[in-house]
Symmetry: D2
Subunit: 342 residues, 4 copies
């Protein structure tokens, strides 16, 4: 089968032909019909320090997927051939403290699809039965495959109550864009987004942000103060990992507010904990992955009921062969979500 493989420890990747995988007793084989590119995939492609420390080539990468089940292992009971499915990326151990107490998303022995085991940038993929999520048959494949990053946005945005709240979303990459739509659907009174790339600013407006502020052009702190009656926003959803955005986000948060952090800072940063968190009486939550399966139920409901239309975020579509065009667009910030069709 065709697959995009990180063949050696260095930048780049190759579209090549590899052996078809076959499912073990509790696994299923999925024919991939759509698979989208995550920022993590770009890190692997570029071979940044994180990738160099974690990835063991050769590896098929990619982990956001939708497809059809074409074979199942002998012990599989809950999934059938022919079903239209997506997959949770975190393959969890089921027995650590976290797994056994409602926090599978931070399993201490996690194996990640496309990072620690073969991924979805391929015609076929094998995943454990326990990681399969069934999609409605009328969901477009490209929507089905972006449920995974949409789930990151859901986990972040719905980790607190948003209805009737003033919400700031810092960073309008694909997940930030999705969070805008989710916050609006959840009844946020005001959704303020910040972003510096004009292409993404337009997408943020298309997703329904009440206002998009460009920190390069606007005094964000003062503008937010004005728009919130000098009080600040109730909720910060941090999607950039950028130190300056993090600090400005906390500065804009009202006393007693809530911040969910999804963006990953590349390195430790200077934090004024006293003023950003302590005197403010703020609550901060670190977001990893998706709540298994609460987040998927929410994702399915938001997309299925039409409460959120994710299509504006899906800006580019390529065949698997042209994956490098997608990588290049993402690298320049000139895309929302890029979907590959094997």
């Amino acid at each position: 089968m065709k697959a995009i493989v990180k063949t050696s420890a260095g930048p780049g990747a190759e579209l090549t032909t590899v052996d078809m995988p076959s499912p073990g007793p509790r696994e299923v084989l999925i024919q991939v019909t759509a698979t989208s590119i995550c920022g993590t995939d770009l890190h692997i492609y570029r071979w940044d320090p994180w990738a160099a420390g974690r990835i063991k080539p050769p590896l098929i990468f990619g982990h956001e997927l939708a497809g059809e089940v074409v074979d199942i292992g002998e012990d599989v009971a809950s999934v059938a051939v022919g079903e239209f499915v997506s997959a949770e990326t975190h393959v969890v151990c089921g027995v650590c403290h976290q797994c056994r107490s409602g926090q599978k998303h931070i399993c201490q022995n996690v194996s990640i699809i496309g990072v620690d085991r073969p991924g979805s940038f391929a015609e076929y993929i094998v995943v454990p039965e326990t990681n399969v999520w069934k999609n409605p048959s009328d969901m477009p494949a490209e929507v089905a495959c972006v449920q995974e990053p949409f789930g990151n946005a859901v986990h972040t945005a719905l980790s607190t109550e948003l209805v009737a709240k003033k919400v700031l979303i810092t960073g309008c990459g694909p997940i930030g864009l999705m969070a805008i739509g989710i916050a609006k659907a959840a009844g946020a009174e005001q959704v303020i987004a910040t972003e510096v790339v004009p292409y993404r600013i337009q997408l943020a407006q298309a997703m329904g942000a009440d206002v998009v502020l460009n920190p390069k052009e606007t005094d964000v702190r003062r503008e937010i103060s004005t728009r919130t009656g000098d009080t600040g926003v109730d909720v910060l959803l941090e999607m950039s990992g950028n130190p300056s955005a993090i600090r400005e986000g906390f500065a804009a948060l009202r006393c007693g507010g809530y911040a969910a952090l999804l963006g990953i800072p590349a390195e430790p940063l200077q934090m004024d904990l006293a003023n950003a968190v302590i005197f403010k009486g703020a609550t901060v939550y670190g977001v990893t992955g998706r709540l298994i399966w609460k987040t998927w139920y929410q994702t399915s409901a938001l997309l299925g009921s039409g409460a959120v239309d994710v299509e504006p975020v899906i800006t580019h579509r390529f065949s698997l062969e042209h994956f490098e065009q997608g990588m290049a667009l993402m690298d320049k910030g000139q895309s929302g979500k890029v979907v590959l069709f094997p």
Copy 2:
């Protein structure tokens, strides 16, 4: 000034002329520009057993109001003459256990406007400074005055997370109708309402219910089972106080679901606690009044941002003189909210 007064212990009320009230040191005088009729007012008008036990005539009743501040007491610091305001109906003691621990809405020494002290069916009313809520100047008076019952709907609906949830609302009187709009605004996946009066069924559809079921014509339990994949609804918002609706509501609730009860049963009822609550692992919350002031902030945000349009619920408008027409319409269930203009 003109006022509607319950002059004696029995059915009916009179529009009459009474002395203008004047504000004490910490009170404000409001010129009432709109005041709407609550079910409680109908109980007082009809003089049902509850009213006979609680009301001490003569009494100006009515408590849902909007108006302009025309005078303030000497110690009033936070409200100014000329401001456009509404009022929280519960005048609380501030010193009981509940008041001192975040539960003012169930103050143990509450005095209720229009029940225990003079109400708003009049040209002027005096309320404590601490009960005043300031409205945006561009809010229509009829919307401003229905914020009080809208707040009951907000307190009920937002007492749990509704986003991506399947919600059943039993009973489409004015507060049930408002709850439909609120649940949709809060991102509910499905809003199912039940109601028997055709006039109200139409209003429920206008407020955005995904479906309105008439228990006289439909097997509600089976229909909900079908619409929820045999699982049941995640959330029940009980707005009727009707024993049959309460039982059917619990029967339709999924295991692990949540029920908020606002409707007041007229008398004790037979409950199958084992199956309705215990085996179900359900959570039940009893709703009284509005959270002070959390509910008002939410109300203001939902109405101010346009997330909910309450106008369809406001079906009738009369001058104070014609209040009896409003009472008659409400008595027959042929109205949403009825607003009086002094």
Copy 3:
């Protein structure tokens, strides 16, 4: 092997000899070293209407157990021969909505050990790997086996915050007695228990209740009012299922209080929902089983750290052969927990 078997549809049970079970691929075989009698077992023994409707003889019953793993199926990875274990009684499907969203304790396809499948009143039992809980090697077998009902008490008592709260526990059967110890360990300001059987009243005192009231001798409502400064208790833990205790419990609950219901009323009862729940602004939670595995972690910590000493609740010990003596004692209310040793 020896086992207590409900051989036919009617009262009683027989100690008899049956074939040894053998574990399937994902199951483990446990040699039972201690197994205690639950109220459910007494229902099965007596053959009450519930048992007649649910149990299919022949059946080995019993489900509270501790023992040593003596064999494992070929796919078992997380449990080893020789380990000292207990078992969660609810064998869950893992794929229903509840299982997939953190509510396994109310799985829609549950199979219960000793009710729907062979139980622990035997020398050996087979349970799924996923139901095994590992015990510290120095935990007495009789304590290890009562962790299951202790878990019911933990689930009930710790479903809300108890620290610095006034707590009422209605009903001092074994689970109510355990709840007394748990509430004290969790920092309750006052633990008030109610019970009518003198034997149990003494046990309640031994478990640390600040006061035990006998409703046959005391005006419980007035006494609680006095002891709580006329406010009422913050928390009701209902352990009896008795209609009168339920009603008195709600009457003693303060406005804004919390009630967890574990006791199962035998039939529907008259509830004054308006005064018991709605005007009170109360929250009510129905308790079934144990949170999997949160409750077991809590149980293990409370017993392991010595925060709760459950020994006073374990009042009788018999060999399996003398199980009928245990049933008789429980029937008369003249016991705490009765443990059988196969």
Copy 4:
């Protein structure tokens, strides 16, 4: 009357004679019988940068107090002459967003006793009626006056569930010491404390810590890992404000854990947000003041029921005249709480 006054902008303070204050219409006059020294008082005494920026001499400082009401203003209704009381230090505005939505402890217009208005290091003090907390008549004055800092510990410790949890407390100043007692009373499975000063290590043991680790002598991270089965602690209560303690505390926190931060870092610090919070899926809460009045009810219950004995923390007692001895001891870390008796 006698009072300790910061007379000029610089180090030190003077015991001097000033005019008696008299209460306004809604204020009460308290004869101070005990007043304890807070770290804040030491900052004011030393005249550190924070004090230089905030304090306007001349000022009577001090804010932890107990005493008897000796006069009340004409509008005071809820407090009577002769009552034994303490006071909440934060005088709040009552009308800001925070005050009106259950977050008075972070009022945007707060005035702090002994910082922004005359304090309690005096024979008499005037406080608003709304800040008075009534004590049981049999509570020792020295205990009654340390309820204020005890409330900081309560707010921090009880901001999450501690029962059956492993808890790390970093820093054993008076509030950290109190938190040890509170965590034990709340049913924590293990309370691990860290501290470098031997005097405080002994006090931490006296307050019931299961173990006290000295970071100067022990590899705290490894030791905690060993004591928690390689999982880490469930809860971090950060009481030191020390950058190294904060970082080590987060390192010791388990994935999915909870951290409450009360200690104030003197300046911004380097934080590895990715590993400390985000990948960890941690929740962080910043603590300021006491929840008004929830924290006071909890404080009263914990001390009144005997669940926590705070006496070991009260290590020194002086007359007002000898306040400088108390300041000196605190400066050297050779004290728990120091109480002054006017």
